[in-house]
Symmetry: C2
Subunit: 385 residues, 2 copies
């Protein structure tokens, strides 16, 4: 058919102790995976965790999709930080997503840095980490890679659950593999990135790329990654994950443990110290190039655009049952973004329930203790099709 | 009385062509100015512009206070960019603030980089630019320096007008020199910085200080200032000056002049290109250390805290007439911040009018074409005391 997309040969991720990224359960699939950008990715590495057992009729599979800086350790201790999984409030014995009842899969997304193919992956053609020669990926590329993993695991139909970028994947799953998605839970998410969303991500990317240690992305062998730039990127993003009211409640203008202002540039205010810690600790567990690639994928995400400019087209004839949840103080993906999805699903004749929950914690609410969220997800997952 | 604050000897600002900072009308006052941080600043350099003539009875003086990255060129061409003054919509012949009727003063704030004492000022003790040895300043310090300038110019009572950080100065003026301020116009401002305000500024400061060219602040002789860090700081801040709706209207998800996404990391979206331009062009006209000092002053600002924790105390017995203006899409200093000031003024028995104006442009609205704002300011300035 004329143009043959370039081959992009990859291999198992190569991580040194110095980089401090962990390894988890891992599969190398031959692919090739045809990416939205036109590149054929082959092979495709996917690192993932599973919990529970697949029912003989295959009806109990749940794929959990993680957010920008998340990973496959949804309910397992993180190999680098040693902290519990990022969603143990939702996933675990007695929780809405329960290994006793469900076969739970969570895979590190394409482009990330916890074992799936990404910029730290060795490029077989050069023997070096791909860095910025790794192809730009999309949310749909992440989804297609996950579909390959489910094929490999013998999972046919599946329930999708995701918050934030995880919700984008759940939506993209329902649009890309409509016959395969029985239910989709989309939390604190959006069907497209707005100009403001893109702007915040661009600040983060520029912060990374302005760090001389970034070296055009080729920093893997140097033992000196662009941590300062990545920390600034994380700090800027972190503000968008919290509500103004939540920040005020948590920190207000309270000073650090000293009696008065220092009249200097140390962290005087608790919120400064908190942000600096968020930025620095992030650099211990995340790869700057992955941050570039995943934010790019999110900025490119516009489900309507992929379907002739009309979001309802993405769900035409869908038999998936959807549950949408937003939080009233989330200003990153505020309630109107969820409502626009609900309207499109209604227009497409799809089954959808929607609730806006109240929380002081902004976008991050979906990761925190939210009993109402648990009740909503539990009820939805237990309901018959 | 015991402790004698350290002397901080300064001299006329020393600027090289390389730094591309302009000189404007300028006075060196002996001082000393006792700063809130305890340092005695002496002498005190102030660069300023005036328009119009002081009336024989001294009743027509208006002091305009500029915002974080503003300067004294309120209605004069900027010496570096060549652009018209930053508030020619409000100040000029036939405008609400009119040289034909008013004696208009606008001074570069203490800590800034357009000729007033700041981190680029030569420290007489060392013969080098002060850099981070310049004392940390407050909004009230800026105000006290302006009062010294007005003394020098023979101005007694005065009307204060300011937006954003300019509004903070107007409030601080009314609280610090109650007998001297006849009227105060406070636009899109706040009486204190919230945790979220501080957080955004801290991101900017960390971006600057993470730039290796910052060199602990000692970059003046190097010809290689921390432009990359300053650009990132400006980009992050700039997002807070615009509304989400305004960004969507102006850019949405529109691509640059190409047909499709690049699947690369160039500026694909117009909003990315716009932000990059905002960041880069800013570094041509602003000093990174000044950005650190002025953001710090803003973060320290809490007028209630300076008055026993009760904002009304700041205005007790005030005979100043206040006009407060907010914009409905301003999420940096949203309407409730103005309303809190109005409540405090009411509690103090001060005369105050307040209006929330509608604009799609967020915080930046006060700098843009806003006929309603002009009508409000004009009416207020013309009204008899």
């Amino acid at each position: 058919m004329g143009f043959r997309p370039p081959q992009f040969p990859t291999n198992r991720i190569s991580m040194t102790d110095d980089q401090r990224f962990g390894l988890s359960r891992h599969v190398t699939l031959p692919g090739p995976l045809r990416l939205d950008g036109g590149v054929l990715l082959s092979p495709v590495d996917i690192a993932y965790e599973t919990y529970g057992t697949l029912a003989p009729d295959g009806s109990n599979a749940i794929l959990i999709c993680h957010a920008l800086t998340g990973d496959q350790y949804v309910a397992s201790d993180h190999p680098i930080t040693g902290k519990p999984g990022w969603w143990t409030r939702m996933v675990g014995p007695g929780k809405p997503i329960d290994p006793a009842r469900h076969f739970i899969v969570c895979a590190n997304v394409l482009g990330s840095c916890m074992g799936s193919s990404g910029p730290a992956t060795i490029n077989l053609a050069t023997g070096c980490p791909a860095a910025m020669s790794f192809p730009v990926i999309t949310i749909r590329d992440m989804v297609r890679a996950q579909a390959m993993l489910l094929d490999h695991l013998g999972v046919g139909t599946v329930t999708l659950v995701g918050g934030s970028m995880g919700g984008m994947q759940a939506l993209s799953w329902a649009a890309t593999f409509p016959d395969r998605v029985t239910k989709a839970v989309v939390i604190a998410s959006t069907a497209r990135h707005t100009a403001q969303n893109i702007a915040f991500h661009e600040v983060g990317r520029q912060a990374i790329m302005a760090d001389p240690n970034w070296r055009g992305g080729d920093y893997y062998g140097e033992g000196d990654p662009p941590a300062a730039g990545l920390a600034v990127a994380r700090m800027a993003a972190h503000i968008t994950y919290l509500s103004e009211a939540g920040l005020t409640e948590k920190f207000g203008r309270r000073l650090q443990a000293r009696e008065a202002k220092s009249f200097g540039f140390d962290a005087d205010f608790q919120v400064e110290s908190y942000l600096r810690h968020q930025g620095l600790s992030f650099t211990d567990r995340f790869d700057a190039n992955s941050y570039l690639y995943i934010t790019r994928a999110m900025d490119y995400f516009d489900l309507a655009e992929e379907h002739g400019g009309l979001l309802a087209n993405a769900f035409k004839g869908s038999r998936t049952r959807f549950a949408l949840v937003s939080f009233d103080t989330d200003w990153l993906y505020p309630t109107p973004e969820s409502r626009a999805i609900v309207h499109a699903l209604n227009a497409a004749g799809a089954a959808v329930s929607f609730v806006e929950l109240s929380s002081p914690f902004g976008h991050d609410a979906f990761l925190l203790d939210a009993p109402e969220l648990n009740r909503v997800v539990d009820g939805f997952l237990r309901a018959a099709l």
